[in-house]
Amino acid sequence: MASIDYQKLHEDQLTLVVTGRLDAETTGRLWSEAARKVTETKPKVLIVEAGGVEYCDGAGVALLLQLKHSQEESGGQIQIKGLRPQFEQLMVLFDPGRTDKSEQEDASLASSIENVGQLTFRLLQDVRLQVSFIGELSVKLVRALTHPGNLRWRDTLVIAEKSGANAVGITALLGFLIGLILAFQSTVAMRKFGAEIFVADLVTISLFRELGPLLTAFILASRSGSAFAAELGTMKINEEIDALTTMGLDPVRFLVVPRVIAAVLVMPLLTMFNNFFGLIGCGLVMISVGFAPAAVLNQIREAAFLGDLFGGLVKTLVFGTLIAGIGCLRGLQTGTGASAVGDSATRAVVSGIIAIVIADGVFAVVFFLLGI
């Protein structure tokens, strides 16, 4: 055990008598006690009678150093008396000097303005990086398409399998459920007008034009966009990207182009699956509310225009490029440390989804102007 006694002989002098073991367990209590007493009395001379200290580890030394520094800071004096030589030696060895806390805690207006400035600068830098990356990627994509022999087809197909074939189940399930839910909700509303048969038109058009491409893009962004970012991020941390560069292999051509092409290839196919199963879900609801299967099929066939379908599929090509491109860019931007890969994956999904929605808005305007 350790204890601390106080003696105030006259106005300017406080004596602390410290006895016992000063270790991590006992120092915690003494620390606040001693700090309080010193702050209350503000002695000009603080005398620490440490002759009774039997043991002193890092925490004990920290307490003595803290008393020393706080006295020095307030312009007072300190005398540590009777401390065993080995503990005195530890004090000299460990003393980090006074830390200037005022500098660290100066989170004033100036530093907030600086933060805003830095944040804006980083944002603009990021935009610039993305634009230049899109430029670089476009050039290399065109080159890959004009010289298909140079493309790493084996890698591309493996990636296409992982992002496409392996995602068929989840895409079909989600498509089915969305078709089912959409049809069910619309039936309730359409019933008021006696127009339940037009639920097939509503579901078909929304799936073909908007929901199919968007849902599939969200699935691809969360499954594959994050995977691309994590994979490339880990490669960056392991210096594999640097190795590629020094071997004369361009990381964008070698890693990004196959992923983008794979994503662009699988997106329309996955969207078709999504649409198909969405229509099945819709059909099931309509049959369950009493329509004949032939009537439902006929209504869907009449509602489904090739223009809507292909309009949606064209969008998926752009979505695929955005998801894979952004996923790879975030991966290549990965910093250092274990959390950096996680951050890259998160940023890949978030930026991917934002980019998809913005692109979808642009498509809506363009299609409207073109009268599609």
């Binding site: 120092t27 925490a59 530890l90 003393d95 440390g337």
Partner: protein, 258 residues
């Protein structure tokens, strides 16, 4: 330092295996308090594996390891925690938490094991960083540090709870000779001033000759200790020619992987 006192670490008949693959068999040695004890051997001989068993990361196939009189193999719950409080470990790559600055890396363990106030913890963390020469880098992130600084910061973190024993895994690996010498100096300084016991795994000969009080040498083929003693004695007087060759850095040593 009184070398006649009870050993602070005792390894008894230790057999280490991964499944059926036996790495080390019947390993016996003792480490005295205050000693700088080096485990060395060629690549793949089980040095780091032995260290991982000594710090209770892996369970041995057979045998016991006593740390400060307590069997770390059998210890569970609070007894195991008590042993872990008495040891500090520096991993080969530092293993600093990348999301925290150096001060927080050290404060983390203090937060978990003590009731100290934040001020007290920061003071202790700064002291530990000061002793390894990194007080100025307290607010830096591990990613901003060089390899040598990371190793020193890892030593500071390992010392957070004033352990009796510090285990260092390859403290000089991957460092330039000057930085490596600085790490060696730090080990000597800590050993001299804080009377800590060091168990160091390394195969860097200059470091061994600078810091080691005693070494044990492991061998991949023998799967056990093939030599124990002071480095100078082993270099000059060992009965085992391979040991002498190892210490003399002779490339024609017969044992593979040397």
């Amino acid at each position: 330092m009184d070398v006649d006192t009870e050993p602070i670490i005792r390894v008894d008949d230790l057999t280490v295996a991964y499944g059926d693959n036996v790495i080390l068999e019947d390993v016996n040695f003792e480490v005295k308090p205050g000693e700088i004890f080096v485990i060395l051997g060629g690549s793949g001989c089980g040095k780091s594996t032995l260290l991982k068993h000594m710090i209770s990361l892996h369970e041995p196939a057979k045998g016991h390891i006593f740390i400060d009189g307590m069997d770390i193999v059998a210890a569970e719950g609070s007894e195991r925690l008590e042993i872990l409080r008495r040891i500090g470990v520096m991993y080969q790559q530092g293993a600093l938490f990348g999301s925290m600055n150096l001060l927080d890396n050290i404060c983390l363990v203090l937060e978990e094991f003590t009731d100290l106030s934040r001020d007290a913890m920061e003071m202790i963390a700064l002291m530990k960083l000061n002793i390894v020469g990194l007080a100025d880098a307290a607010h830096k992130m591990p990613s901003e540090l060089s390899g040598g600084m990371k190793k020193r910061a890892a030593i500071a973190r390992a010392m957070a709870l004033d352990p009796k024993i510090l285990f260092l895994d390859e403290p000089s690996a991957g460092l330039d000779p000057i930085t490596s010498a600085q790490v060696d100096e730090l080990i000597l300084k800590l050993s001299e001033n804080l009377t800590m016991t060091f168990v160091i795994v390394t195969h860097e000969l200059p470091s061994i000759f600078t810091v080691a009080d005693r070494v044990v040498m492991l061998d991949k083929n023998a799967k056990t200790i093939i030599a124990t003693g002071k480095p100078d004695e082993l270099r000059d007087k060992s009965d085992n020619p391979w040991v002498r060759q190892f210490f003399n850095r002779q490339a024609d040593a017969e044992t593979p992987e040397s």
